[in-house]
Subunit: 246 residues, 2 copies
């Protein structure tokens, strides 16, 4: 059995998220259905990031085992796309070592959050961006973000129902930058807690609006209590941008 | 009564087109409903281009009369957006001379058609692009397009049910160019016949695939018969890009 790794992209708008659920349309469900039609048996699939309802991916990574030997791994994504709906598509593929696991082997996940301060959100991108009703300071947002760098207990930025007991994660990068009409936050970490990116995004925007100082972020982080976080940013602005390995 | 001109954008995916119909969701219907809520009476709206079902607009122009004097015309679009659904938004606005009419005053409409030859269409833009299963020659497409420049009877490129008796239109520009992963056709004319852009787009792609010579386009144009056209390109790749006046 060959181990195949694929990079996939999806528009999260019409999905209940990555993970298969008892009812409702999920990305994992669509990918498994397409693989089942190709293999004529159930094929298990792992993903690097279990994105929530409405969250998009430009570079999600998945892996699975295949016994279809006639298909070179580099053409696998093309064959799979003909079975996938248009809101999930595989972008590239390769064969990987048997030990490779999309989730456990990942060393870094990179997410982007997109806002706009425009008075009108262009309809073509309305599901990929959140509108801000004030003009944020990118310089202040970058100052506010700095205390989050490094390894920390991020309990403040996840709901109490987060299943991991150990809530230490290492943030490698967090940067705000303008891009066309957008304000983008790019955040990279070894791994993220449930809803962590949206909680950080929403809290930093709230603190920027209040013209807060970075010490305020330090205090909220140190509280290790979700009540210290601001409102979470909506799902629609969030994109799983890339996953790194090794 | 002031005459207000607005530039609007929409995602045509969930619309039956611009023009109000007996049943079904239309862009004009949504704009009129929003204006009616603002004015508490019916407000008639004209548009430069009556786009079909599934066709998008980045720069459609509309006009209407208003008696709301408290609102500067330059802020009109902001007020209207709060009544519009997210798939139609006004981008800018101004007050215009009483003689201005969005449709009859327009001197040039500019459309763009987007294709990709990628094996996977990124899900985020799937409604804005048509996938080609071969790699087109941009140089040949530009040669094939040249005979269409200038004033011609474009009967070949419109269904027989087109209502205008005079089917002469003047094409000012038609150019194919690469843009990122896209192949774009930009076409500008004083006005277009019904489905003319999609018919030209589909025919030129067909002829490029056949490695045809420009004389073939001349012959098809001269036939003045829709049977001489190739298959029309799908609605989803077409965008009303801009409208010029005066």
């Amino acid at each position: 059995m060959r181990n195949v790794r694929l990079t996939i992209a999806y528009d999260g708008t019409d999905f209940l998220g990555w993970q298969v659920q008892a009812r409702g349309r999920t990305v994992q469900g669509e990918v498994m259905r397409a693989l089942e039609r190709m293999h004529r048996r159930e094929v298990k699939v792992s993903a690097a990031g279990r994105t929530d309802a409405g969250v998009h991916a430009d570079g999600q990574v998945i892996n699975f085992r295949t016994d279809i030997d006639s298909l070179p791994a580099a053409r696998y994504h093309v064959a799979l796309n003909s079975y996938l709906p248009r809101d999930v598509q595989a972008l590239s593929g390769c064969e990987v070592d048997d030990r490779f696991h999309a989730r456990y082997s990942a060393t870094r996940r990179v997410y982007r959050y997109y806002w706009t301060a425009s008075l009108a959100v262009p309809p073509a991108i309305r599901h990929r961006v959140t509108r801000l009703k004030y003009r944020p300071s990118i310089a202040r947002l970058n100052q506010l973000a700095r205390p989050l760098l490094g390894p920390h207990d991020f309990s403040t930025f996840t709901p109490p129902s987060e299943p991991s007991e150990n809530r230490v994660r290492e943030v490698h990068q967090i940067v705000f930058y303008p891009s066309g009409r957008f304000i983008v936050m790019q955040i990279a970490a070894n791994a993220f807690l449930w809803r962590m990116v949206r909680s950080i995004a929403g809290t930093l925007i709230e603190l920027d609006k209040l013209a807060a100082e970075p010490v305020e972020v330090e205090e909220r982080l140190a509280a290790c209590d979700h009540a210290a976080a601001g409102p979470s940013a909506p799902a629609a602005g969030l994109v799983l941008h890339r996953v790194d390995y090794g």
